[in-house]
């Protein structure tokens, strides 16, 4: 009887653990063992007026950034905006974080702690290959993306978008 109860308890615990695992959403990004100050979405976008210059990339914008093309068009004088690559990334509290939607244009992020109004203080570096283009101190807040106008390319322009997905 004692052995039966022990076996029953073991089976129950195992089943319960499995159920909890199923209920938890899969982690978006790993490295969960490191403390974070937020989560960002970064994208490299090609803006051009010549549709024939588009690369054919089929990346979709972040669901929380509706009408991204129209919003970009209000800032950059182009008709077509094509997402070349994208990256969802933790902002590590103790370590540097990299947002690499492309090998050509990417960003290094160092967290400087939380900011008021659900924001996060960041030190940003935009890199083009081995050259740092700009270093900035910024406060990134939800629903307020950062549009960075990068270098010209093929009669268009490369744009880096950084968006605070959640804290």
């Amino acid at each position: 009887m004692k052995a039966f109860l022990s076996a029953l308890a073991l089976i129950s615990c195992t089943a319960l653990t499995c159920a909890q695992d199923l209920e938890e959403p899969p982690p978006i990004i790993s490295s969960a063992k490191h403390a974070t100050d937020g989560h960002v979405w970064g994208a490299l976008i090609f803006a051009t007026n010549d549709a024939s210059q588009l690369t054919g990339a089929k990346e979709e914008a972040h669901a929380d950034l509706p009408k991204l093309d129209q919003r970009l068009a209000k800032v950059f004088p182009f008709k077509h905006f094509e997402i070349l690559g994208q990256h969802r990334q933790d902002i590590f509290r103790e370590y540097e974080s990299w947002v690499v939607p492309s090998r050509d244009l990417f960003m290094k992020i160092d967290s400087k702690g939380p900011a008021e109004k659900d924001g996060v203080n960041l030190h940003l570096q935009v890199w083009h290959k081995h050259q740092v283009l700009v270093k900035s101190d910024a406060i990134l807040r939800k629903d307020s993306p950062l549009f960075i106008g990068g270098p010209p390319w093929k009669q268009g322009r490369l744009i880096f978008v950084l968006f605070l997905e959640r804290k």
């Binding site: 370590y95 924001g119 807040r141 549009f147």
Partner: protein, 213 residues
């Protein structure tokens, strides 16, 4: 030589401006001072002679013209005074308004609000992202930043960057997961299927190094 006060008294005596007491005192002095009495007699005779030869009233030459000019001048002065008083009244009203006790409080509050909007680091809404500072190591590159309300985004424009050669192929990647290795100072990035896309670390100069190249 007569003292000025004696001469003044003499003139007043001749013109009959002294009261009874003064006249009696002065006439006592005349009795004791023959020189003063002689002087007084001469001046009195001269005064009587002048009065006898001059009319009691003299007609002012061109009186109408003179009066008209006086009236014009008076009217002009009245208008000037009225105008000046009107300006003064306006300023007085403003000054009086400024002296109101509540104005000091309202003014202080207005200045505080103005100072808040002018002096804060970014004029945008506090719920917006903000660029606090920017530095471009390449001196040919200028960084401009502003908030675009229409795009609901904060913009950092890098002007003066060299164009990426048109024949260079730029392709993106879609990173879904990363693995940080602090001991190795490297980050490995994976796609949605779990396949490793690249690893980023540092070279000997501290610059980012992406592998495989």
């Amino acid at each position: 030589m007569k003292h000025p006060s004696e001469e003044h008294d003499l003139i007043r005596w001749i013109d009959g401006e002294m009261n009874e007491t003064e006249r009696a005192t002065f006439e006592e002095r005349l009795k004791g001072d023959p020189a003063l009495a002689t002087e007084a007699q001469k001046m009195r005779a001269l005064s009587a002679s002048l009065r006898a030869h001059l009319p009691a009233e003299m007609r002012v030459p061109h009186a109408d013209y003179f009066n008209t000019q006086i009236e014009v001048r008076i009217t002009q002065m009245e208008l000037d005074d009225a105008r000046a008083q009107k300006v003064t009244t306006s300023w007085s009203a403003v000054l009086q308004w400024l002296r109101q006790p509540w104005f000091a409080l309202a003014g202080t509050a207005a200045l505080a609000v103005l100072g808040f909007f002018v002096l804060r680091p970014d004029t945008g809404d506090a719920s917006e992202s903000m660029i606090l500072s920017s530095y471009t190591p390449n001196t040919n590159v200028q960084a401009r930043t502003y908030h675009d309300a229409g795009a609901a985004a904060t913009v950092l424009l890098l002007d003066g960057l060299d164009a990426v050669p048109a024949d260079r192929k730029i392709s993106g990647i879609n990173v879904k997961r990363t693995e940080l290795e602090p001991e190795l100072a490297s980050t490995t990035m994976y796609d949605g299927q779990g396949a490793a896309l690249l690893m980023i670390s540092h070279d000997s100069l501290g610059n980012p190094m992406i592998s495989p190249r």
